[in-house]
């Protein structure tokens, strides 16, 4: 029995230090206050990312063993400026703090994270938080910046006025965290501020903040480096130039820089597959393992380094603060498509994966803009397309220098595909915003955070998280499809032996759809890949790995060579175009349905993207054939 259940249910206002019970503590703070850095610092590898039930705002949870017998569930809530729920992110924060969120117990304590270099404004959030009557620790983050820029805080004085403990800390450096540990260990008390302003009245809250911090706070000098860097990054000529260089550099690096790493993974996969084949006794089970699982999952695993590299770039851009400047530079372009700068960040994350991008659209207050962004996000070249693009480009486009040694033909082809997806997104957004989603443009309001060095810690955690998601997919969806496909390719057996692949069930299915895809330049093998890739795009690579692995006895024949023999140049280009436009991703469809509250939008989206893919692939195939003849 839990001995403390009764005392909790008994309505005791201040929870006594309890043993052997889970405690829920929420981290709250305005955007850019370093909330997540603190969360990462406190929980490290013991965190998991899930979704709140019903809504799709990301829920970041971490477990902490603060002392013997005392475990704390730490929740990192979405950043908010106030507790007025105007966006769905804010609604989630508000619901959790009020105890109205299903499945999440009301936090019994709050860690309020504020930026100490901008205390006057950030303290505005302290008013509604302290008014909740939940034990609160006020963490004034970025203490290192404050000190460097000559600011000062008298924490004791501030704590007295706020009626709550105050800690000056630097989450990036891990300094000043002891009071947080003590707080988590049960040093809780209901806050008793000297006075509180009228809530939901920003001028009153701001005046209160000034009064409270008045003598206890000396504001730091303006951030010199941020000004210097903005003079370059927001320079009328240099700014857009650097923006272009950054985008090109990202693509060039993930395409050529990842090659040695990918070769390494490939060697390991091939080597271990060979070893398995030689070690295990010959049986259908061994063939399933080596050809189905190793051939299918292995060929997708090769792309892990590339995907991690892409997430590393996005992480560096985001954590350093450059992404906000990029959004400003991109806003005019977004406006031409009828979207706003806030759509830029979801759309940029869609280059990694459409799912986090669709979740990120929650920060867009306008419903119309949000749906438009959701509908075009899958056109952005997500990392699941990378394996397909890489394979086809490497097989069909010879590597030559295009602009000196910096940009090669393959990188250029890749960039072209990225631009193609982007163009389709812009085109679709314009169509949507001038027809079914017509509406008034909403204002673009975006805070520019100070530039900071990204930390290895938060980048590492981010990569680990994304790597896990990718591997989990490889271990479930892709593994499942690989096994089913291998079996379908081996039945019906003829006289106890597996049939030729063309005569197997998989081959029959492929042949059935062949007439439909022949005009695009695809044969029945690609047809099987198109069907399996409805689950997820990168599955086609695994599928082709399995199909060609079965067909050719020699393992030395690479997938690229097999494709070269099997596809015309026209078909290859058509395949690239098809993958640029088609919505082959079950997870995305599921997320869109959940986000838009029904099947209507995902159905429209799927039909639209598939038709566009078919028509454009057909045109591309014809164009290449005409050009070559």
């Amino acid at each position: 029995m839990d001995p403390c259940r009764d005392c909790h249910a008994g309505g005791v206002a201040a929870p006594a230090p309890l043993a052997l019970r889970r405690h829920t503590v929420a981290i709250v703070g305005p955007p850019n206050s370093g909330k997540s850095t603190l969360f990462n610092r406190l929980t490290g590898l013991r965190q998991k990312v899930a979704n709140y039930p019903g809504v799709t705002v990301e829920q970041r949870l971490g477990k902490l063993q603060v002392s013997r017998g005392r475990e704390v569930d730490l929740i990192d809530l979405p950043g908010v400026y106030s507790l007025q729920a105007r966006s769905e992110d804010e609604q989630v924060t508000r619901d959790v703090l009020m105890g109205n969120m299903k499945g999440t117990p009301r936090p019994e304590a709050i860690i309020l994270v504020l930026d100490s270099t901008n205390l006057g404004r950030h303290l505005m959030l302290a008013a509604p938080i302290l008014a909740l009557g939940i034990p609160t620790l006020v963490v004034l983050n970025m203490a290192d910046d404050l000190e460097k820029r000559g600011g000062l805080i008298d924490t004791a004085d501030l704590a007295q006025r706020l009626g709550a403990p105050v800690a000056l800390a630097s989450a990036t450096r891990g300094e000043g965290l002891e009071p947080i540990a003590e707080f988590l260990n049960g040093a809780l008390a209901i806050p008793a501020p000297m006075e509180l302003p009228v809530l939901n009245n920003p001028p009153a809250c701001r005046a209160w903040a000034t009064q409270v911090s008045g003598q206890a706070y000396r504001a730091p000098a303006p951030p010199l480096w941020t000004k210097r860097l903005d003079a370059i990054f927001l320079h009328p000529i240099m700014g857009p130039l650097i923006f272009a260089v950054v985008v090109v550099a990202v693509f060039q690096t993930i395409f050529t820089g990842a090659v040695p790493l990918m070769d390494g993974v490939e060697a390991v996969v091939a080597g271990s597959g060979q070893w398995l084949k030689q070690t295990l006794p010959g049986s259908p089970l061994r063939d399933l393992l080596v050809e189905g699982v190793w051939g299918g999952v292995g060929s997708v695993m090769v792309f892990l380094p590339q995907i991690l590299l892409l997430f590393l770039f996005i992480g560096v851009l985001e954590d350093s603060g450059y992404l906000a400047r990029a959004a400003v530079i991109a806003d005019r372009t977004m406006a031409r498509a009828g979207l706003q700068g806030k759509s830029f960040i979801p759309l940029l994350s869609a280059y990694a994966c459409a799912i986090p991008a669709i979740l990120a659209t929650r920060t867009i207050e306008s419903k119309r803009d949000r749906i438009a962004t959701i509908l075009i996000a899958p056109f952005m070249t997500c990392s699941a397309r990378l394996p397909v693009y890489t394979l086809v480009i490497a097989a069909f486009i010879p590597e030559r220098n295009l602009i000196g040694p910096f940009v090669g033909t393959r990188a250029a082809a890749m960039l072209g595909l990225y631009l193609l997806g982007f163009a389709a997104a812009v085109f679709t957004a314009r169509v949507l915003k001038s027809s079914i989603l017509r509406g008034e443009r909403t204002p673009f309001v975006m805070e520019m955070p100070a530039y900071r060095w990204p930390t290895f810690r938060s980048l590492g955690l981010r990569l680990l998280d994304r790597g896990k998601v990718f591997l989990r997919r490889a271990g479930t969806v892709i593994l499942g499809v690989a096994i089913v496909l291998w079996v379908l390719a081996h039945v019906p057996t003829k006289a106890g032996k597996a049939p030729e692949i063309a005569e197997s069930v998989a081959g029959t299915i492929g042949r059935t759809v062949e007439p439909l895809i022949k005009p695009l330049g695809f044969n029945w093998k690609i047809g099987i890949g198109l069907i399996t890739s409805l689950a997820a795009r990168e599955v086609i690579v695994g599928t082709l790995g399995t199909i060609y692995g079965i067909e050719s006895e020699s393992d030395a024949v690479g997938l690229q060579k097999a494709l070269q023999a099997d596809l015309t140049p026209g078909g290859a280009v058509a395949l690239l175009v098809f993958f640029a436009f088609a919505m082959q991703c079950m997870s995305t469809i599921a997320v869109v349905r959940r986000e838009t509250g029904g099947w209507r939008w995902p159905a429209i989206q799927f039909a639209y993207m598939s038709s566009l893919a078919y028509v454009c692939a057909f045109a591309a195939n014809r164009a290449v054939m005409a050009w070559l003849s």
Binding site: Y81, S82, Q84, R86, T117, N118, G120, R121, M124, P202, P203, R206, A219, T226, D230, A231, L234, H235, P236, I237, G239, P240, A324, A327, V328, I329, D331, R332, A335, Q340, G341, E365, R441, P443, F444, V445, M446, E447, M448
Partner: protein
């Protein structure tokens, strides 16, 4: 709140878009829906507060404004609906 000729001229000259880079102004009120105005106030655009125009994207839109210790980017269409106090009342007492 009668608009005399002089007042009209002053008003015409007094929104955020009239500030050139480096120039300061004192915020007066918003010609914007309430929820947008509230969001802007939370970000530091408080009536009576000082705002300074900063750098911008090419073409001057959107532009970054320094306000209450932070920098916030606004589109021209939003900035044009944030009114500034006239120079005279800005320098005088509240």
């Amino acid at each position: 709140m009668q608009l005399s000729g002089k007042n009209a001229r002053l008003r015409h000259a007094a929104t955020l878009i009239d500030l050139r880079r480096g120039e300061r102004g004192v915020l007066d009120y918003f010609d914007l829906p309430e929820d947008v105005a509230l969001r802007l106030m939370e970000l530091g655009f408080l009536p009576g507060g000082v705002v300074r125009a900063g750098r911008s994207a090419p073409g001057g839109d959107p532009r970054v404004f320094e306000v209450d210790g932070s920098e916030v980017a606004l589109r021209r269409e939003t900035a044009s609906r944030i009114r500034l106090k006239s120079a005279r009342s800005a320098s005088g007492p509240e």
